[in-house]
Symmetry: C2
Subunit: 326 residues, 2 copies
């Protein structure tokens, strides 16, 4: 449990003794406003913590919407609307806002999302947050209901975002930047700024996956939440983690392979799904929904252990502090 | 129109071309989640803009909830639940959060409010925001529907909060601080930190008031929004503005009476209601809901002028730049 989760568990959970909050153990709340259930989630992006002062406002807006959409994907909900909080420095506010707005506009169209309202203020540092509303059709995914004997899946390539970030911002990783093509580098950065929450798969998985979340803090860190809340463990196989062709080349550049995997599995911002599903449900899912690609990366254990295995099936000990905003 | 409103009108309104947003012309959105309509509003408090680093966390939490409750009062809605964003420095986070939580807990009880979820992060400066949800029973108040010939009312004393703030934080106002009793000073500060949104009156006024909002930016500034959106003007009588006994003493200490009224009418944070109502509706309201006290401060004009009158009914020109967060 990282410090953020510790604070939430220790202090905030006693304020949320209502069924709508789902005990703060999921990616969002599920609120019953009359006939329809609505998934509600909120996420912030703060200067110097989540991004840099000079990052393009349009990309920040797009990322802000997408990371919030990803929380809806984690729950299997459909985008509906959002409210926005934005605080920015006074200087060049007009220019900055204009660009920010164009990013919001693009993503509203992409996701069929409505802006309901918001609050605008000046501040020394840039701060932004969205509260997002999703509609529920058949049901939602929980993080508390992974089942013994289920397998563990991810929805797509892991680790591109971390290298997009590191190549851009950390000189230590120039050994990578200098060896990969400009177009590959651009793709990695794209994954960092413009994650693609897999809404369609997530909704398709409702009724099939027994637990699901989105990878925002790192594959292992987010999987750990599912396992913790479900009181289970996992076996994970490195050879089965899907990585892009660019990451396969980057892997070769690392003399310390452990370090490579620690970055890939621990850094987060992939915004792919990680979920568990029984082999029986998997068969039915594949029969009914054939066009989705799933990547099986391991399986659930009955005890609380999390084991990571090398290609040769020897256990490997990786350093997983897990990303925390504290 | 201040800069905040200018930005909202110029840039954000085109993103909100949906009926739920009420064209961003009100204190909140009204969203139809199935059978029930829900009022949604969001408000931020940012270090150095809305409060100081060392302000007591418990009071900040209580104020944060109350200013958001005030947006529900502006709309005539009933408190239901909220989501929270909180970003604070790493240092002493645990102690700070503990106190903050105790403030939230008190106000959740006061207002029968549920915490649905939230997001927690570290940051250099303290940042907090709430998105609040209110239930609608008979209907809501709008700011766009003030009527010709209606009178203008406020729900209670104006101006205590500004002097609570100034006596605490601005040495220029020591001439007041040194002349009033400690208990009076305490009351003023209380009004600054713990506003009392008038939910009961607001709900009672649904169907009677033709336009209503809460005073967060200043009586005149918020009234101006109603008048602007309703395409009307107003006559306001200083002698009719309700002020506390303490403010009556403070008034006597001012050699520049204009300055006194500029502070009282322009500074904001009163979190009382300002609304318009016809004399006919007023009579029915008083017959049906006798225990509410209303303060008539003026009346609607058919043109777009806003006139302020002295006791002797001469017009007075006050400097109303209106508080803006930009």
């Amino acid at each position: 449990m990282n410090k953020e989760q510790f604070f939430i568990h220790k202090y905030f959970s006693k304020l949320s003794l209502n069924k709508q909050s789902l005990n703060l153990k999921n990616d969002a709340a599920e609120v019953d406003f009359g006939r329809n259930k609505i998934v509600i989630s909120t996420d912030m992006m703060i200067e110097k913590i989540h991004f840099f002062k000079n990052d393009p406002p349009e990309l920040l807006a797009r990322k802000l919407i997408r990371i919030n959409i990803s929380d809806l994907a984690a729950m299997g909900a459909k985008p509906y609307g959002y409210t926005l909080n934005l605080a920015i420095p006074h200087r060049n506010a007009s220019q900055w806002i204009k660009k920010f707005i164009s990013g919001l506009e693009k993503e509203q169209k992409n996701y069929g999302l409505k802006l309901f309202g918001g609050d605008l203020s000046k501040s020394e540092k840039i701060f932004m947050s969205i509260t997002i509303f999703g509609k529920v059709s058949k049901g939602i995914h929980l993080m508390t209901s992974a089942k013994k004997k289920s397998d563990i899946y991810v929805s797509g390539n892991i680790g591109d975002a971390v290298f997009g970030y590191l190549c851009e911002n950390d000189k230590k990783y120039n050994f990578i930047k200098n060896k990969i093509s400009i177009s590959s580098l651009k793709k990695l950065k794209q994954r960092y700024f413009l994650p693609k929450p897999n809404l369609e798969l997530s909704q398709a998985l409702v009724g099939y996956a027994d637990a699901c979340t989105d990878i925002s803090d790192g594959l292992i860190s987010d999987l750990k939440k599912i396992l913790h809340f479900s009181n289970l463990g996992a076996d994970i196989y490195l050879s089965k983690i899907p990585i892009s062709a660019t990451l396969q080349s980057i892997y070769k550049l690392f003399s310390d392979k452990k370090k490579f995997w620690e970055l890939v599995l621990n850094w987060g911002e992939d915004y792919e799904l990680v979920f568990s599903m029984s082999s029986k449900k998997k068969k039915v899912f594949e029969k009914n929904k054939t066009h989705h690609k799933l990547f099986k990366v391991g399986s659930i254990r009955n005890d609380r252990q999390i084991n990571i295995y090398e290609k040769d099936l020897t256990k490997i000990k990786l350093n997983f502090s897990g990303f925390s905003h504290f």
